[in-house]
């Protein structure tokens, strides 16, 4: 590409990269508490992106969505998970299947794959930042790596929540004009899902006295 990217494209791409880097940081976070904090930071970055898109493209509805997503993803969800951690009195993440180095290498591999595949589809238009969608896809894929390789319920749940952050970035870039009702419905559904995750995590902890998922291997075949 020969042309200089606009400020809008530049900022969205930088924010998308920031979200991806946070996702990588989650992979190597040794404490569950720090993982929740990283998710909180990531959500804050996504909220900031929403405000930026609202301001630069003059979509007032996005401010409402940004406020809601701040309340939900930066305040409420981390607080719920942190309370579970306090009640469970666990902080060190259980041993994951692979070492940190291998996890990071795998994550680099899959994110490169995501960027290349989406890049090859040539989803492009004047209004669209060149690489934000590709990076958002990489975030989703790294979230999958996190969920697959970490063996405790908190990391897996946070993995899902951060996957949703990746989808949010894609949504802000691709579908900024999405009607407000739809955006609110999506967020509301996320809230309900979070509550259900919380219920099942508590039930699991109540039965197994651990947050680890390594003993969840009875059902197979």
């Amino acid at each position: 590409m020969s042309h200089v990217p606009s400020t809008y494209a530049g900022v969205t791409d930088v924010v998308a990269v920031l979200v991806l880097l946070t996702e990588f940081a989650m992979l190597r976070a040794p404490f569950l508490r720090s993982q929740v904090r990283l998710y909180q930071f990531q959500s804050l970055v996504v909220t900031a992106l929403a405000v930026f898109v609202a301001a630069s493209r003059h979509i007032d509805e996005l401010y409402v969505l940004a406020a809601l997503s701040f309340a939900l993803k930066v305040v409420l969800v981390p607080r719920l998970v942190l309370r579970l951690l306090r009640d469970a009195d666990v902080d060190l993440a259980g041993s994951s299947v692979l070492g940190v180095t291998s996890m990071i290498l795998i994550a680099i591999g899959v994110s490169a794959f995501g960027v290349l595949v989406v890049g090859s589809l040539r989803v492009r238009s004047a209004a669209l930042p060149a690489s934000a969608l590709a990076i958002a896809t990489a975030v989703v894929l790294v979230a999958f790596v996190l969920i697959i390789l970490r063996a405790d319920v908190v990391s897996q749940a946070i993995g899902f929540f951060s996957l949703e952050n990746g989808v949010s970035v894609a949504s802000l870039v691709l579908a900024a004009g999405l009607p407000l009702v739809v955006g609110v419905a999506f967020l509301f559904d996320l809230l309900v899902a979070v509550v259900v995750f919380g219920v099942i995590m508590r039930v699991h902890h109540g039965r197994a006295q651990t947050l680890s998922t390594s003993d969840l291997d009875r059902l197979k075949g």
């Binding site: 989808v167 579908a175 004009g177 999405l178 999506f186 309900v192 039930v203 699991h204 059902l219 075949g221």
Partner: protein, 496 residues
């Protein structure tokens, strides 16, 4: 007509709220009434939907022939499951039983409410929202028994299904983006609008959206390789919930894929969407057929049979012939009835023998004089024996496949279905027809041999209902229903 739509969406919700506070004795009757009424209301929609018209109510609710097919499948199973639950749930007077009963009935009604809403909402965004609601409610219902197995199954289910729906949300957003090239940056994702503009969408974007949608909603539908939550959830959930998961939930997820299919064939032509479905379909059918041969758990056996049938549906859609698409839609209805009945029978057997282990259940027909033979009939129906509905639907699918240039796929389909038939009928014959004396050889089973007699008359009634529906679908399709299927197949077909 639009008031019918509102009634279908409101009634189960109200009943869910009432059953949460009412005593269980009242709840079970209320649920049956609600199920039968909702089913009646959906049947009343058939003539209108078959006569080429869509029914709308405001901008939120909409029903056309395709939606009504799935609505009928869902609400029929709602009614049958409500009746079955009366016999399945043991009435108890303790505080724990009362709490369980309240939660169970409120959850059951909410679950059916959300599944009935899926085919009725107008637009891809609301479709995603409705399917996400079915997930969160059914997760709680899977976990409701509070055993180690139920907790494990619920965790796997909530995690894998949520990831799938995360992908499906991405699909929704990418499809929204495809629409912005035609409708401008802000519009609603209603079906009529998308279908009207689909010819002008950018193909690369729609291709991405369709693959993401098949992968995402396919997770909830139980397509291989993203089916892994399914056997666990189906086997650990209470039996009425298993029946609904298998007969309705998988079907409404398939409905979501079909909505994306409708748009994709308009933008991309038929080849690409069909090939995507073909790959997932063959993988599902193959894996399910192999797993069916090596099952030890009665409910897991039926769960893998669901994966098999979802594979048949997707393969059927990959055939171009309209007759195959009619077969697919009929298969949705017949599978709901057959799988519901089979799970009801399994529930009866599990109650009677107090185990799901196939090697410990012997002489089922002797112990259960009514539900035993009906379970055998339901399994035969699942294996596509005449005179049941699945025989007719698979016949239509295969004949559509044989008229396709790629008729080897039809041959593969027939072979894999035959393997599945072998697995299903082998275990059923062993557990139901083999007398238990021969199987045990004087082992410890002798002492635990259950007495002859039914668990509950309600169970027998619910199973009879399913079998009658299957015979009607197989022997003589009512003309209105037949028109409905033709119309829905035309909606799904490639526009000329």
């Amino acid at each position: 007509m639009s008031s019918l739509l509102i009634a279908i969406v409101v009634l189960p919700f109200v009943v869910a709220v009432v059953t949460y506070v009412a005593p269980v004795a009242v709840s079970r009757i209320l649920t049956v009434v609600s199920g039968v009424l909702t089913c009646g209301l959906s049947l009343a929609l058939i003539p209108t939907a078959a006569a080429h018209t869509q029914v709308t109510s405001g901008s939120v609710l909409r029903a056309d022939a395709l939606s009504v097919v799935f609505l009928v499948a869902t609400t029929f199973l709602y009614a049958a499951t409500a009746i079955f639950s009366c016999g399945y749930l043991r009435p108890g007077s303790g505080e724990a039983e009362r709490r369980y009963g309240r939660r169970f009935y409120a959850g059951l009604n909410l679950f059916c409410w959300s599944m009935a809403a899926v085919p009725l909402v107008n637009g891809l965004a609301l479709l995603w929202v409705a399917i996400e609601i079915t997930t969160v409610i059914s997760v709680l219902l899977v976990a409701i028994d509070d055993t180690d197995g139920a907790t494990e199954a619920a965790w796997k289910y909530v995690l894998i299904a949520s990831l799938g729906l995360g992908i499906a949300l991405l699909a929704t957003i990418v499809m929204y983006y495809a629409g912005t090239t035609v409708f401008g940056s802000s519009y609603d994702l209603s079906y009529m609008k998308l279908l009207a503009g689909a010819h002008h969408f950018p193909p690369g974007v729609v291709r991405l959206a369709f693959v993401l949608a098949v992968l995402g909603f396919g997770t909830k539908m139980g397509l291989v390789p993203v089916h892994t939550w399914l056997p666990d959830a189906h086997s650990e959930a209470p039996t009425p919930v298993s029946a609904l998961l298998s007969g309705s939930l998988l079907a409404v997820s398939f409905y979501a894929i079909l909505r994306y299919f409708q748009i994709a064939v308009r933008t991309l032509g038929p080849v690409f969407p069909r090939n995507v479905l073909l790959i997932f379909g063959i993988a599902s059918l193959l894996l399910a057929a192999l797993y069916l041969l090596s099952q030890r758990d009665l409910k897991r056996l039926l769960a893998y049979s669901s994966v098999e049938h979802m594979g048949i549906l997707t393969i059927g859609m990959s055939f171009g012939a309209p007759i195959a698409i009619v077969g697919v839609l009929l298969h949705v209805l017949a599978h709901a009835a057959a799988k519901g009945t089979a799970f009801f029978g399994a529930g009866s057997v599990v109650r009677k023998f107090a185990t799901k282990d196939l090697s410990k259940i012997r002489g089922g027909i002797g112990a259960l004089p009514w539900s035993g033979p009906m379970l055998v009939a339901a399994v035969l129906a699942l294996s596509a024996m005449p005179p049941f509905g699945i025989f007719r639907s698979e016949f239509l699918i295969v004949s559509g496949g044989l008229s396709d240039p790629r008729d080897t796929v039809a041959a593969v389909l027939v072979i894999l279905v035959t393997i599945s038939f072998f697995g299903l009928s082998w275990f059923t014959t062993q557990t139901m027809l083999t007398p238990d004396v021969a199987a045990t050889g004087g082992g410890p089973l002798e002492a635990t041999r259950p007495a002859k007699g039914e668990v509950s008359a309600w169970i027998v009634v619910s199973m009879a209902l399913g079998l009658v529906a299957l015979v009607i679908l197989g022997v003589h399709l009512p003309s209105q229903l037949s028109h409905l299927l033709d119309r829905a197949a035309a909606e799904l077909g490639v526009p000329r």
